[in-house]
Subunit: 200 residues, 2 copies
């Protein structure tokens, strides 16, 4: 039998040493952040602390913000799973309005829990890359089930995503980290109220 014409494109899984280094770097990064604060993390410093070359660090994460995105990945996936297949009202099953309301609170709390890393993860590009686009997508889908005649659902989805993803960072500039808890609760409540008025 002849070999397959298309060689099956085996993605040739991540090399063992690469995996090891990636995990090691993330572990060291977490430690450095805990010790010094996220804004103090430098690429040179991370490489040195991990006993690896700077080139390796960049190969792994591409950019400084990439490190923070990688650090968020775990909790982000957990969050997305809760939204996509967790129990209602955050997960599927509840009516759209309820899911919108629940999503806002959950998202704000989730962002607040990682606020330092979240901030650094969006420093290079102005926007936020992958982060937040999940919110847009999710809103877009939920809005299908809501009656908003004559309005672009895409536009509404972006608007809502911006309202959920950025206020925490805006308030951080103004106040400090200590005052976050109050802000989180207020924001969550405001979001919920507005969504209900808006859609209800």
């Amino acid at each position: 039998m002849s070999p397959p014409v298309i060689p099956l494109e085996r993605p040739r899984r991540e090399r063992a040493d690469a995996v090891r280094n990636r995990l090691h770097l993330l572990r060291v990064a977490r430690r450095l952040i805990a010790e010094e604060g996220a804004d103090r993390l430098t690429m040179d410093g991370l490489a040195a602390a991990a006993d690896l070359g700077k080139g390796t660090v960049f190969r792994r994460f591409g950019t400084r913000a990439g490190i923070f995105r990688a650090l968020l990945e775990d909790s982000e996936q957990e969050f997305q799973r809760a939204v996509l297949e967790g129990p209602p009202p955050l997960g599927p099953g509840a009516p759209p309005v309820e899911r919108l309301a629940a999503f806002g609170r959950a998202r704000v709390e989730h962002l607040a829990a990682n606020i330092e890393v979240v901030g650094q993860s969006r420093v290079d590009g102005h926007g936020e890359g992958p982060l937040g686009s999940f919110s847009v997508l999710h809103f877009r889908v939920l809005l299908e089930g809501v009656d908003l005649p004559g309005i672009s659902l895409d536009a509404v989805a972006v608007l809502l995503a911006a309202a959920v993803e950025t206020p925490l960072l805006l308030t951080l500039d103004r106040h400090d980290v200590e005052s976050l808890p109050g802000s989180v609760e207020d924001l969550a409540a405001a979001w919920e109220a507005l969504v209900r008025r808006m859609v209800g």
Copy 2:
């Protein structure tokens, strides 16, 4: 008569050469941005093109983003004047809901008109410094005249400001500058509809 106890603190106006240089730098910056794009503007490049030392550039603007903020200042003041003392519904005189609606459209259009510079003006700190805090303040004031029982007006103001200030930058990551006009109109319409449903 004895001299005043407090020497009247004359702010000792900006020196003539400083004024000259500031205007010159802004003029050169505008030219460079037009020629090369805002993201290509470097401090060294600006200093060289203006035939001034780098130190001078930094003394004038403090940070790279400061240059872009200075470039926005004119149009920003004009915008704020239109809101604070222009004709209704953007200016005072109209009912709060109308002013909210008008503000959103005006703000989005204003941001779109300067989108490249706006983007660069918020690159250093994560938030946006002074930009946008005007929106928060304005919303805060307008909301006094709206019935939203049991919700923190501060939180709502921040939420709305985020919804107005950031979507354009989010969509910029996703699409390109060409598609802005459509986004602007959609966003403005979405904003208006949502505000009316929210408050009405």
